[in-house]
Symmetry: C2
Subunit: 331 residues, 2 copies
């Protein structure tokens, strides 16, 4: 057992929930994990206050269980939707949270009296998978998280690729059909407009409205507005042919995006995270097949497309990893 | 004036021509440049023999002019179409040249009795622009060369991003319309299927065949099979409304690819090279406008989209730069 009793707090803020946990300095599963609703409508300061309470409770829990001291907790790594400015620790704007120029890092740091770092949530999730998950040891790692939106991250030679203004990794807004479906971002044909959770559900409902028969309709008692991506997986598992067709098409759309990233970046590993990966082989088999068809042979041969190994904890682990890397220079 | 009299040979092999020049060790315009037809149909060994003769003649010319010694010429950097294996110095396959597992680097090295390095031609062109051209000092540089095909390169923190198997940078085969035009690669809707030279010409001809009136038809005396991308620029310069429409559409297709790369990588600079850039503002003004519409604001604000500064010499300079970097570890 490691003698190192030091900890880093990971705080992963999402549009719906936020997750807190203490990550061992040398790496390992987070301790004292807690998940609480973000409730952005209460304002940023309320979110910070409740996140800080959760951090305080998690720290107490771990220190009591291990007999450690307050000094063993080195700091807080924060993951947040962006765009953000890592240097100032400010969230520039988040449509989901309603924040504009919000000094998230320093507010959390002051509230819990610990140093803190801030990075993009999708970057953190990818960095977590690189440190301890499906992307371990890879020199070129592409991460994609399919949820309400599609987030992305890129880890090159052990470093998150942030780009010129901390804006890199927006794989969800890659155009795959320049005259295609309207996206929330205002553009047309973004990957997200096809393969995010709400858009998987929307595509499924469109077919049913057009007259296709499916168990999906029974699963929501005829209330088609209640169909979610989770309902689609449920119908897939029940063997519903239409739901499987929707999942197949989802895999094909996703494959266009993945193949584009493989052709551009020649990664060793592409990690796919998010609810949609619960579909397992129903997603990954057609996904890998379509990528093979679309991307260059030598690039495909060098790349594994894997589900996330840390679906619940990558965000917290990666946020803590960013703190460690920025503070100590190594992981 | 620099005291350094050392030189590195750059050899840039393309499907149609190859270019040779001697690049000053400290950087600068290549001396004793010569361009000769590649003539791949004569076989790889013939190409190597003629390239080596050209290198020999260029070296003699420079050494005579400067009174230098043979030891002042340190080696040869070779740029070639890929995919290739940089470690073994082998070209794996090139549809344009017909080579399979061709040990290009060692054959050239032996023929000219100098150490040599091998890298992808589009990587070299981008690296040349990074070292001495439009991308100088940038931390994140995306390069795109529009010719018979569309080549790409990526320079991150002063290093070419090669990826897991030297296959990165295939921006031409990014899908921008998943059910779009057929590409030479067998896929559908690749950027190259819209914005390469032959495809610009093909799109222009399609419209004329469909009945659009254009000076293009006069420029080729009615032989529509003779329309090339160069004919389209000529018609643009003559003010032909249809040719301008074709150029505008080209800019829009190109913008989809550029916006995808800006969203994914958040570059400081995107350099566009190749014949199509002769269209100047007719290309760049609609290109920048459409990119602004498609990519994220903070990423667009951080990025300049520029024509190549070294349109004739970036390949030779970049090939020499790869040799210098691999041999000495710095540029």
């Amino acid at each position: 057992m490691s003698e190192d009793r030091r900890w880093i707090v990971g705080l992963d803020i999402g549009g719906t929930n936020m997750v807190v946990g203490l990550v061992p300095f040398e790496g390992g599963p987070p301790m004292a994990m807690r998940k609480l609703p973000t409730r952005p409508e209460g304002g940023g300061k309320d979110v910070v206050a409740r996140a800080s309470d959760a951090i305080g409770a998690a720290v107490d829990e771990v220190l009591q269980a291990t007999g450690g001291n307050r000094e063993d907790v080195l700091g807080v790594g924060i993951g947040s939707p962006g765009p953000l400015n890592r240097t100032t620790g400010t969230v520039l704007e988040t449509p989901n949270l309603g924040w504009v120029d919000f000094p998230l890092r320093d507010l959390v740091s002051r509230a819990v009296d610990l140093p803190a770092t801030l990075d993009n949530d999708a970057n953190c999730a990818t960095f977590g998978e690189w440190w301890l998950g499906a992307g371990r040891e890879s020199r070129v790692l592409v991460g994609m998280t399919l949820g309400t939106g599609i987030g992305g991250g890129l880890v090159l030679n052990g470093e998150i690729h942030h780009g010129a203004s901390d804006a890199a990794g927006e794989f969800g807004h890659m155009t795959i059909d320049s005259m295609g479906r309207r996206c929330n971002c205002g553009n047309y044909g973004c990957l997200e407009a096809y393969a995010s959770g709400p858009n998987i559900a929307a595509r499924a409902v469109e077919g049913i409205r057009a007259g296709v028969e499916s168990v999906l309709e029974d699963l929501v008692d005829g209330h088609l507005d209640r169909v979610t991506a989770a309902t689609v997986y449920e119908a897939v598992v029940l063997g519903d042919p239409y739901a499987r067709e929707v999942m197949n098409e989802t895999a094909k759309f996703l494959a266009v995006g993945v193949a584009n990233l493989i052709n551009a970046l020649n990664p060793e590993i592409v990690v796919i995270a998010g609810g949609v990966t619960r579909a397992g082989d129903h997603l990954f088999i057609p996904l890998r097949k379509e990528v093979r068809r679309r991307a260059f042979r030598s690039a495909v041969a060098a790349c594994r497309i894997l589900p996330a190994a840390l679906p619940e904890t990558a965000g917290v682990i990666g946020a803590a990893a960013v703190f460690k890397k920025e503070t100590f220079g190594f992981l």
